[in-house]
């Protein structure tokens, strides 16, 4: 792994933490405005997982654009791919068959069971207080047996809520075996935020603190979370990225700092 970086920023820590979750056997897909996951896939491929596959923008199979040029769904990301994957027959077929088994999501609201909402804020879907863009591919991926990795650059009580206003993308639903009972396999694995990393307690499926980023305490995380978080007695610090990982990210993978765009509206300064 090499020497730990002394000057990393939170965006870099989030990218590296996500990257470490993926292996040579994984096939990664990405959606729109997903700079942090795409940076993570490219970094994993450059470091510990050279045989990993990334289908850029769900189209460019094993693409290698060199660096993040623009939006993660843009055709520029397909550069040097081996195939343009037709969406209707091929991509959605592989997704249904679970050949493509992993997806990264984020949203305006995330609850304690990893259910995510990016559709509306308010009590009545049809008369929303705020109309958000919509669930897009999340509604698909969370119901088609994917292993879900959630990321959020706004760890606060507005994002991490007791109950989502609209259940667009099911995590573990009401917890326990609720998801499995519906016949949905897999589900949320981890949640990487600007404050910490969380996972899900295996029986209750409640969100649980796994590690806190440097300088953050479990108490602070709880204060910024709108539901009661499971907090083990011993919460380690999130391992910092190596000097090599930070260099790769800054100089090779994302020299235009596109990943920092995701922190608009976040209290965390990057």
């Amino acid at each position: 792994m090499g020497k730990v970086s002394q000057d990393y920023t939170i965006d870099e820590l989030m990218v590296v933490t996500l990257a470490h979750a993926f292996t040579d056997d994984d096939i990664m897909l990405n959606g729109t405005v997903s700079y942090i996951p795409v940076s993570a896939f490219m970094l994993a491929r450059e470091t510990h997982a050279p045989k990993m596959t990334w289908v850029a923008g769900a189209v460019g199979v094993d693409a290698d654009p060199g660096y993040i040029i623009g939006n993660t769904l843009d055709p520029t990301m397909w550069k040097n791919c081996v195939m343009y994957l037709p969406q209707l027959g091929d991509m959605w077929g592989y997704v249904h068959r679970n050949t493509l088994e992993i997806f990264c999501i984020r949203g305006a609201q995330i609850d304690q069971y990893g259910n995510v909402n990016n559709s509306i804020i308010g009590k009545d879907y049809h008369k929303p207080k705020v109309r958000l863009p919509g669930s897009a591919g999340m509604g698909d991926m969370c119901t088609l047996h994917k292993r879900i990795y959630i990321w959020s650059t706004t760890h606060n009580p507005r994002t991490f809520v007791e109950k989502v206003d609209f259940l667009a993308a099911p995590g573990y639903l009401s917890g326990g075996d609720a998801r499995a009972k519906l016949g949905l396999r897999n589900g949320p694995e981890i949640v990487v935020t600007d404050l910490c990393v969380m996972d899900f307690e295996p029986t209750s499926k409640r969100m649980r603190l796994k590690s806190v980023h440097h300088g953050v305490t479990p108490k602070e995380v709880q204060q910024e979370t709108g539901f009661e978080l499971l907090i083990p007695a011993d919460v380690p610090e999130t391992p910092g990225p190596s000097v090599e990982e930070v260099e790769l990210l800054r100089k090779k993978i994302d020299p235009k700092n596109m990943r920092k765009l995701e922190f608009r509206g976040s209290k965390t300064k990057v």
Binding site: P75, Q87, L88, S119
Partner: protein
């Protein structure tokens, strides 16, 4: 009329006359890519009303249509301006109850179109089981059981739009439409096949002989196409890969202006309602300078 092997080249204004108030209209497009925006501008100039827009990803074109009061209902999976943020006219109109948003998962949307394209009453998907999205529209998506295994699946009712509008790389006068690369996006693939009428705008009109030399590039045959309109830069300010990039300058300008209803109106006046045609539009957004801006993908 589509079936005939005859010249189908008409003007944008003539093509838009084929769209009636109240029609369900399938509009190709991603947030910043491949959308028939010259035709969208023509629809706005023609003052169409009560359109039901069926899309996968609603972007700047849909937001213009909504800001101009042309749309009463949206069927889509997401509506935004991609990296440029919220689609503000859409957000305001839904919050004010002026436009209905019928939200689907992506594969539910494609399954509705696919059933339409096959002429079947419905087709099934597993996408969205357990999501509240399914319960939003019981008249178009319903959980049913597989008659063989009992497994729960979602029946998605066929969607047959009145009109489909597309922008493509080139076509001949008969309506053999070519894309590069050949259709990879689901909307280009299934929207026209599901729709009753198909209008295609193209960057270039070529001889049928050229089509016969390169049939592997043809994504849509003449017998499914009703009208061909020649509109260079017809996707602007969206991109048409690999011909030209999206126009960051115009996207950013609209994203900023549309934060207020007044701002969106001023933008529409200046860039959509003011210019009478594509040439005047391109002039308004910067002329040669605008074309230079979108020349490269790799900067």
């Amino acid at each position: 009329m589509a079936a005939r092997k005859e010249n189908k080249v008409i003007s944008a204004a003539q093509a838009v006359a084929m769209i009636r108030d109240g029609d369900t209209i399938a509009i190709q497009g991603m947030g910043t890519q491949m959308s028939p925006l010259a035709l969208v501008r023509e629809i706005i100039r023609a003052g169409k009303r009560d359109l039901k827009a069926a899309m996968v990803v609603g972007g700047i074109g849909l937001d213009w249509l909504i800001a101009a009061g042309c749309v009463s209902k949206v069927m889509a999976i997401i509506v935004n301006l991609d990296e440029f943020g919220m689609a503000n006219a859409f957000r305001r109109a839904v919050e004010a109850g002026q436009v209905t948003m019928e939200e689907y998962t992506e594969h539910q949307m494609f399954t509705r179109f696919s059933a339409g394209a096959y002429g079947l009453p419905f087709m099934v998907t597993q996408s969205g089981l357990g999501s509240a999205v399914v319960d939003l529209h019981p008249d178009t998506t319903k959980v049913i059981e597989c008659p063989f295994t009992g497994q729960k699946v979602i029946a998605c009712r066929a969607l047959v739009p009145d009109v489909c509008i597309l922008h493509a790389h080139r076509a001949d006068a008969l309506g053999n439409v070519q894309f590069f690369p050949k259709p990879i996006w689901g909307d280009v693939d299934v929207f026209p096949r599901a729709s009753n009428k198909v209008i295609v705008t193209v960057e270039e009109i070529v001889d049928t002989e050229e089509i016969r030399r390169t049939p592997e590039r043809t994504g849509l045959p003449y017998f499914k196409v009703d009208a061909v309109v020649h509109v260079p830069y017809g996707a602007h300010p969206c991109s048409l890969f690999p011909n030209y990039n999206f126009d960051r300058c115009v996207m950013e300008h609209y994203a900023a202006e549309s934060r207020t209803q007044e701002g969106a109106k001023v933008f529409l006046e200046k860039y959509v309602l003011g210019p009478k045609n594509q040439a005047e539009y391109l002039q308004a957004v910067g002329g040669a300078e605008a074309l230079l801006r979108i020349k490269s993908f790799w900067s």
